[in-house]
Symmetry: C2
Subunit: 207 residues, 2 copies
Amino acid sequence: MRRRGRPPGTDRGAAQTSARIRAAAIALFADQGFHATGVAEIGAKADVQRGALYYHIGSKQELLWEILRDYTRLLLDDAERIVAADADPIRTLRELIRSHVELIVAHRRTVAVHLRDADALTAERATDLQRLRDRIQRLWQDAIDAGYTAGLLRSADHVVTNGLLGMLNSLSFWYRERGAHSPAEIAEILTETVLSGLIAPGDNTKG
Amino acid sequence: MRRRGRPPGTDRGAAQTSARIRAAAIALFADQGFHATGVAEIGAKADVQRGALYYHIGSKQELLWEILRDYTRLLLDDAERIVAADADPIRTLRELIRSHVELIVAHRRTVAVHLRDADALTAERATDLQRLRDRIQRLWQDAIDAGYTAGLLRSADHVVTNGLLGMLNSLSFWYRERGAHSPAEIAEILTETVLSGLIAPGDNTKG
């Protein structure tokens, strides 16, 4: 956390206030868009006084950056953890899908903000965010390449990796909290679709 | 086309002007966003005089609606044509994927506008657009249901349909004009991934 002037409370209180401001900003950006949201509005929703607000927020754009960066780092950290476990490539891929589905569902409002308002980042911040995203995609591509090299997967084309990540990212549009399936079930259905295919076993129309 | 006052030219000239305004609006909305684009800017880019401009455009929001409606109708019309051909369900699904990929690639700037700026539509227009999209999704779900009922597909879960459409819609983010594959090749790779699965034939780690 960056400090500006005298801290308005204890470190713990400051961390809680920052978390509250972050949550309020995500909710407002997701509901009405980054551009339509004012800093004062974020403060009001987070119940933070004007003085304390400017202690916690550098600028609205900086807040957007921190929100998107921290979410993307969450995805990256979990993908790195899974790849480091060094399981067989198909198990790694299953775990990557599960992790991605669960984090997207948990942070779907942030994903919606990312899809709509990432353009509002400065060119430098946009590049930084793209670098983090490229690292995630690289981990996925490496896992798929490893599966292909081992003869376990039929393709390691970038189109597959892009399509797979696109399929999972689309969850932020269509996931419903009271839908028929839990995130774990959705991950399982999508994993089976992509790994084993939609065509029923024993059917001969594959070719 | 709606008429406002005296037409500024022949019908054919008017249609060409409308098409030019439409193309300019899509380019500007895609590049800089709906909110950041002014009507005068659209006119300048389309090389249309101020008087003629207001003859062709009801409002910027109306223009956005017409752009998103016409694109969505294109998808719907092609899906209806494919389903009406009444081929076997897997062939229908293949054709639906191919059509979707090709139309998304051809209209990817409109798709980008849709993803970012559909919120700018009035509630009524947003509902109208959602209805068109629901009809497309219904056609896909019916084709998948038919395949499942015939024992050709292993699942007809809505998660599969949503994930599949999400995978294809994500093309607008990652398609590159000078990429390794043509739209037809991308459609083929994604179709094989989804229908036959990524796991190489003969591999025993499917379960």
